[in-house]
Symmetry: C2
Subunit: 327 residues, 2 copies
C-alpha cells in the first residue's frame, strides 16, 4: 500500500499556509500564499485553498489517492458535526459547507475548526501546553482570539462559539470594539488595539514610527511592532504596555474562573515580540489572579510559532480518527 | 430490606442546613442550626454537623443503618478524590479529612463538595438549569461564589479551585478585596460589596437604612436588603445597581469565554431580591456580552432557593453511585 499523507492548512483572512505531513507526523513540505490579493470573495479563498492543496501534492510528489485527510483552521465559527462554516467575520462564508467542497475536490475526508481554537489545540498536542489537562490560550494578532481545552478536549460551547476571549470586558467605559460593545480585551491587546492607541497619541502630537505602517484597516504587520521596540519607540512601548496590562487582567479573570493548569500565549504579536510580551504579562498578572490559585497555573509562550494552527489541524485529524475507532 | 435514606447538608460559615431524602428523592424532614454561636472552631462546626445529622435521624425516625449516604456542600476547597477539606476561608479546616470523620461517626459513605459548586450542581440537576449542557452559576451572598458545569459535569479545574467567579477582575483600580487583589467582582456584587458602598456614601453624608444592620464583619442579613428596596432607600438602590452592573460585566465576559447554554443566579442576594436583581442584570448584560453569542445563552434565576446546596449534595451522591456502577 502506498504511503498516506495528511494535508493541514491554516486559512487566514489574508493568507493560506499549508503543510504535508507524512505518516510519522513529519512535515514533508510547506507552502504559503496570500489570499486577499484577488479580493476576499469566498470562492477566491476557496480556490486558494484548493490551489495550495494541489501545489502541496505536486511539491510532495504525491497523488490525490495518497491523501489520508485534509484539515484546516478557519477564522470563523465551524460546526464540527456538519463541517459547515457557520460564519466568518472577515470572509464571506455564511452557512457554507466548505468541508463538502474540499472533500468533493480531493476525494478525502476533511476536518475544519476555528483557527485560534485549532492553534490552541496544536499547542496542547504538540507544543508548549503539552501534558496539561485544562488549558486557556490567548492569541493576540490582528484581533485577539482564544481557545479553551477542558479535560484534554477542545471546548466548543453553545453554537461552537466558545473561546472568544478577545471580547471579555476589561474596561467598563472602554473604546468601541468591532463587535459593537465597549471595552473588550481586543480593543487593547491586539494589533488593532495597539494601532488605535498609537493613532490617538499621534493626534496629541506624540509621534510613533508605527504610524506610517498602519494600513486602511487600522492594522500593521507584526514585524513593524518588533522594529518599533528595537528603536525604543516610546509610544509603541506604551501601546505594548497597555496591551499586556489588559491581557494580564483577562488572564487573572480566567485563572479565577477556570483554574487552568496552563495559559498559553500565541499569535502574531507573540511571534513578533518574543518573550518581551510574556515577561510584561508575568509582571502584571499577580495583581489580578486569585492568590490561592495563581501558583498552580503555568503561563507559557506558544512554541510552534506560525505553525500552531497547522499542528492543530493535524490534531483535528488524529482526534477524528480516534473518535471513529472508538465507535 | 429497610428503606434507605440520603442525608444532605449545607454547611455555611454561620449555619448548617440539613435534609433527609427518601428513596424517591422526596424531602422527609429538614433542620436548620446556627453554627457560629459557639464560635467557629472546626471541631464545633464538625460537632454541629454531627448533631444536625443525629437530629435528622431522630426526626425522621430512622436508624444509622438506614443511611444510604451523607453529603455536604462546604464553603472551601474540597478534594473529591480523598474527601479532604483542603482549605476553608471562613472555617479553620486545613487539609482536614472531614469525610473520614463523618463516615466513622455514622458508618455510611460521605461525599463533600464546595458549597457554591454544589449549589450550581443542584440547580443543574433539579432546578432552573436543568436540561442544559454547559452552565455558569453566579451566587452572590456574603461574598460571591460560582460554579461551572461543562458537558453536564461539574468542572473543578486545577487543585479543585475553579469557579471563583467573585474574583474575576471587573474594575482595574477597584477597591481592595479579601483575596488581596483589587477590583474583584465580589467587591461590588455581594453583600460585603454593597455594605462597602453604603458605608462610603454614609461618610459622604448620605444616609441609608441599611447602615444600622451592617455588622462587625461588614455584612448585613439579606432580608434588610429587601426591606431597603421596599422603603425605596436611594443609597441601597444605588448599591444594588452597582452590584448588577458589575455582575452584568462579568456575565458578559463568561458568555464570550465559555458560550454557556445557561447562566444561573442564586445565593442569598437573589433570594432576597427576587426578580429585581435578575431584571437589572438583563437590562445591562447586552452591552457586555458578545452579540453573536448572547442570543444562545439563557439567563435564569435559581429555582431551589435556600435548597440549591441541599439538592446539589443529593446530586453528589447520585453521581458518585453512577460512577461506581460504571466501574
Amino acid at each position: 500500500m502506498a504511503k498516506k499523507y495528511n494535508i493541514c492548512l491554516d486559512v487566514g483572512g489574508t493568507k493560506v499556509l499549508g503543510a504535508v505531513f507524512d505518516e510519522k507526523d513529519k512535515i514533508v513540505c510547506k507552502i504559503k500564499r496570500r489570499s486577499t490579493e484577488q479580493g476576499n470573495a469566498s470562492e477566491n479563498v476557496e480556490s486558494v485553498i484548493i490551489e495550495v492543496t494541489r501545489s502541496l501534492l505536486k511539491k510532495a510528489n504525491i497523488k490525490k489517492s495518497q491523501i489520508n485527510a485534509i484539515s484546516a483552521g478557519v477564522p470563523g465559527i465551524i460546526n464540527p458535526e456538519t463541517g459547515v462554516v457557520v460564519f466568518c467575520p472577515n470572509l464571506p462564508w455564511r452557512n457554507y459547507n466548505l468541508t463538502a467542497a474540499i472533500e468533493k475536490e480531493f476525494g478525502a475526508k476533511c476536518y475544519l475548526g476555528n483557527d485560534v481554537n485549532v492553534g490552541v489545540l496544536g499547542e496542547f498536542e504538540y507544543g508548549a501546553a503539552k501534558g496539561f489537562k485544562n488549558v486557556v490560550g490567548f492569541f493576540p494578532g490582528t484581533g485577539l482570539g482564544g481557545g479553551i481545552i477542558i479535560n484534554g478536549k477542545l471546548y466548543l460551547g453553545g453554537g461552537f462559539q466558545a473561546g472568544e476571549l478577545g471580547h471579555m470586558v476589561v474596561e467598563e467605559n472602554g473604546p468601541e470594539c468591532g463587535c459593537g460593545n465597549h471595552g473588550c480585551l481586543e480593543s487593547f491587546s491586539s494589533k488593532k488595539g495597539m494601532a488605535k492607541y498609537v493613532l490617538a497619541q499621534e493626534e496629541k502630537g506624540r509621534h510613533s514610527s508605527l504610524t506610517q505602517y498602519i494600513d486602511e484597516n487600522g492594522v500593521f504587520k507584526s514585524k513593524y511592532l518588533r522594529m518599533a521596540v528595537e528603536e525604543n519607540d516610546e509610544v509603541a512601548l506604551e501601546a505594548i504596555d497597555q496591551a499586556c496590562h489588559y491581557l494580564a487582567m483577562a488572564t487573572g479573570s480566567m485563572i479565577s474562573a477556570l483554574a487552568p493548569d496552563c495559559i498559553v500565549y500565541g499569535g502574531g504579536v507573540m511571534e513578533a515580540l518574543g518573550d518581551l510580551f510574556l515577561e510584561k504579562i508575568l509582571q502584571k498578572v499577580d495583581a489580578y489572579a486569585m492568590p490561592a490559585i495563581r501558583p498552580s497555573v503555568e503561563l507559557k509562550r506558544a512554541s510552534l510559532g506560525d505553525y500552531s494552527n497547522i499542528y492543530g489541524s493535524l490534531a483535528l485529524i488524529k482526534r477524528a480518527k480516534k473518535h471513529q475507532k472508538k465507535k
